[in-house]
Structures are given as structure tokens and as C-alpha cells.
Amino acid sequence: MITAGIDVGSLTSKAVIMKDGKFLSSAILKSKPRPWESADLALNSVLEKTGLSMTDINCSVGTGYGRDKIPFIKQALSEIACHAKGARWLMPSARTVIDIGGQDCKVMRLDEKGEMVKFITNDKCASGTGRFLEVMAKVMGVELSELGELSACSKSPITLASACTVWAQADIIQHLNEMIPIEDIAAGINNAMASRVSTLVSSIGIEREVCMTGGVAKNSGVVSSLEKTLGIHIKKIRRDDPQLAGAIGAAIYAETVSNGGKI
């Protein structure tokens, strides 16, 4: 059976194709203003890679911010469900999953069977989400993907006066005007991000192994700062791209949906 999972996020859209529970291919694209366009583009891109066509897909499931606006899916499922499922597939030993997306942050606790025990989300405040990093990178004139590497070179990270994205932005501009090395600013930004996320993580409790998913998992600066702040080791996902967790989870669920199972 061939299934597809589509995760339409605020910044990026992801599509994954699986065959009998095995990973076939994936695509990550920048989201368009209209969720259905993003979903179409992501799916077409992954179909192209595999040489499959739409009719070869037995069932597809959508998730993410724009999930209710994807026309071709059989069912839309919550981000929490799909991310937990995908994270578990990426790392079967995971008990705590920290997912930082473009405009939210989720922390999920799983039991040994991979069932969700509890979760907590922040989607109210941009601080502690990918958006915070995006705004800061823009102010600094660097790519979002550069923040991790930059912060690794820092000798004395700055301390941001405020967690609020708006105030922090003004703070960064001032630091830039004062000719503070860009590495130290990047490190300060990653630390602020980690400190905000760690508050959320602490409130739900940590159980090993801890893994990180979502786009921000690729920022080594945030990961190491989180490890330091929380005093834990975050096990690196190697099986595939951690940003695909939601789409992978959706593709796995698509098999259950196709078999008539309830989720």
C-alpha cells in the first residue's frame, strides 16, 4: 500500500510517501499563502521524485496549520497526533518530543508503546517558536539556517533584555549598532529561544530519551543551549530529517485510515 502524508505548516510544507510502512521519499517547500497550493506543490514534488502519480496513492492524510484546506486528502489529523507518531518512527526510544515549528512549540510525553501521555503547546506568543528566530535572522541579515553555526563560534553571548520578539528585535538592532560580533548576537538569540522553550518543557516534565523535531531541531545552537539549560542530553535523530516528523506521522496514519481504522 502506498500512502502520503502532507504537513502544511506556516513557513514550510512537507510531503512524505511511504510504501507498506517504509519511507520512500519526501519534499520540503516554502509555504505559499494558500494552504491548498502548498499542499499541491509539496505532493507533486515528492511524486516527481518517486516517479509515481496521484492515482498510485491509496490514501493520504493531512496535518499542520493548513490541514483543513487540503482538498485531496482522505482525512485531516491533529498536529500533536501526527508529530508524536512521526517522532516515534524517527526515534522509537523517544519518551519526550520537543517540536519547534514555524509558529508554535509543542512538547509531548509518550509512554513505552508510543502512546501520548500528555502534551503542552505554545502558539500564543511568538517567543519560543521558529518565528522568533526568523525575525531575528532577518534583522541580522543572515539566513535562518546560519544561526546555529554562527552561535558555535561565539565567545561571549549577549543576554537579551526581553523574551518578547518585538522588544528583542529592538535590542538586537542596538547590539548591531554597537558593533557586537554577530556570532555573540546569534548565540544570545539561540539562548533566549532555548530558555523560553525550556520553561515549557519543565512544566510538563522530562523523561528519557528526549528528541527534537521540527525545523528548529536543525539549529545546533538552540539544541545545545536547551541541553545546557535543562541539564539533559537530546538524542539526535538520524533516521531522517526531523522536520518531516508531522508528514511521516500523517503517512503512517494514512495506512490505518485506508484500512478503515479509527484514530
Binding site: P33, Q103, C125, A126, F132, C164, T165, W167
Partner: protein, 262 residues
């Protein structure tokens, strides 16, 4: 007796000169990044307006965000104390002062002698401060001064569901793209800011009469939105942005006349 109050805020610097409790002059300028510079500039301007020299001022009290950096003051006072003093002087019936500035919002409860009972303060989150209005005005290519009049042309009630300024900005851009009318959007923005400030004020218990001060009080749309959010009438003063500086000048006078409680 001549006293002065100098209020160095994050966006503007204000000064008031009093002669025996009567206002001789008041000035407001845009603040620079250096508080000492802003303080000097506004004092120079106001002395010229009052036709006096700095030496003629018997006592000068500084307040505001940049108060610790004003070089020539006799003493500094908290913003809470100055705003309470200014409000009580201008409208003695005031029991709650709600002040929305460029980077913060305060709610202050005072008793029938003008003493501060309790207060709440937000400078942690840009939502519920003047900065929210400024950012949205910017992204809609409007001036801050236009917002009030525009919002009064609103005919359709919209809601901005995001509280965070960053997320709300995106939400507002999609409202514009959906073809929503700018006055309706601005009116929704005012209600969003007002709701945030109202919940801050409710935390300390709102007692009438309620006086709204700060630069944001000059925006009639915000004034009525806050009244609506609190479900009661608000009192206004003629120059709400000068309230802190006026309070500082009054405290300077209290210090000299021995009325001061310290």
C-alpha cells in the same frame, strides 16, 4: 517657586515647568537613543519657552524609563508615583489611572488622598502597549495619528484572534488581503490592545473614576475601545501624555513645601 518635571520615555521626552502650581510651559520631543541627550534637549527647549534659565528652577524631578540617566535632576521618582500624582492633581476624583505608553502599560489604584494603593505594570510583552499600534500602523503604511479617526469610520466588527504582536501582524495582513476595510481592521486592533490592557487593570481591581493617560489616550479610537473593554466611562485630561512630567513637577513642589511624605 519654580519647579520642573522631566519624563524621559522610550519614544518621547516630556517636560513641565510649574510656577506655584500653575503650568508655565510644557514641551514634548521625540527621544533619542541616549536619555541624557533627550533630557538636555527638552529642558533647553522648555526653558526658552518659559523665558527662564535652568538656574531659575528651584527643584527638578526626573522620571520615566530613562530617569537614571538624567544628569541635572535633584531627585528621581518612579513613574508610578509621578503618574498617580499628576492624575490626582488633574482629576481629584480619580481612583484608577490607566496609562498606556510607547513601550509599557500601567494601571494604578489611588485612594481619596492620591496615595498609591496598588499597581500593575506590563513592559514584558509588546501587546497592550503603544508599540502594537505603531507596528501595525507601519505595516499598513499609516501614521499613528491617523488611526483614531480611521477607526471611527468602521462599520463591520472584526476580531483579531492573536494576542502576540508578531502573530497579529500576520493576521492583519491576511485581513487586508481578504479585502477587509482598513477602518474595520483598525477598530479591531484597538479592541485587541484595549482588551489586553483591561485585563491588566482588572488584576488590581478597577474602581471609578478611571482616568486614561499616556500618549495612546490621544487616540479617540483607543479611548472608546478601552472604555468598552472595561464596560465603564473613562475620564480624560487635556494633555494625557504630559501627566508623568506634570506629576514629577508637582512632587518637586511637594518636596519644597514639605508636603512630601518622604
Amino acid at each position: 517657586m519654580i519647579t520642573a518635571g522631566c519624563d524621559i520615555g522610550s519614544l518621547t521626552a516630556k517636560a513641565v515647568i510649574l510656577k506655584d502650581s500653575e503650568i508655565m510651559a510644557k514641551e514634548i520631543i521625540r527621544a533619542t537613543a541616549r536619555p541624557e541627550e533627550s533630557a538636555l534637549a527638552v529642558m533647553k527647549l522648555i526653558c526658552a519657552a518659559a523665558g527662564i534659565n535652568m538656574e531659575n528652577i528651584d527643584r527638578l524631578v526626573g522620571t520615566g524609563y530613562g530617569r537614571k540617566h538624567i544628569p541635572f535632576v535633584n531627585s528621581v521618582e518612579s513613574e508610578i508615583a509621578c503618574h498617580a500624582r499628576g492624575a490626582f492633581h488633574q482629576a481629584p476624583g480619580t481612583r484608577t489611572v490607566i496609562d498606556i505608553g510607547g513601550q509599557d502599560a500601567k494601571a494604578i489604584r489611588i485612594d481619596d488622598r492620591g496615595e498609591v494603593i496598588r499597581y500593575a505594570y506590563n513592559d514584558k510583552c509588546a501587546s497592550g502597549t503603544g508599540r502594537f499600534l505603531e507596528i501595525i500602523a507601519d505595516s499598513l503604511d499609516l501614521s499613528l495619528e491617523e488611526l483614531g479617526a480611521l477607526s471611527q469610520k468602521s462599520t463591520v466588527i472584526l476580531t483579531i484572534s492573536n494576542q502576540c504582536v508578531v502573530f497579529a501582524e500576520t493576521e492583519i495582513i491576511s485581513l487586508v488581503n481578504e479585502g477587509r476595510e482598513i477602518p474595520d481592521i483598525i477598530s479591531a486592533l484597538h479592541r485587541a490592545v484595549a482588551n489586553r490592557v483591561a485585563s491588566l487593570a482588572r488584576g488590581i481591581g478597577v474602581e471609578e473614576e478611571v482616568l486614561m493617560t499616556g500618549g495612546v489616550a490621544k487616540n479617540p479610537g483607543m479611548f472608546s475601545a478601552l472604555a468598552g473593554a472595561l464596560g465603564l466611562d473613562l475620564k480624560a485630561v487635556s494633555d494625557p501624555q504630559m501627566n508623568g512630567a506634570l506629576g514629577a513637577a508637582l512632587i518637586a513642589e511637594d518636596d519644597l513645601t514639605g508636603k512630601s511624605k518622604r
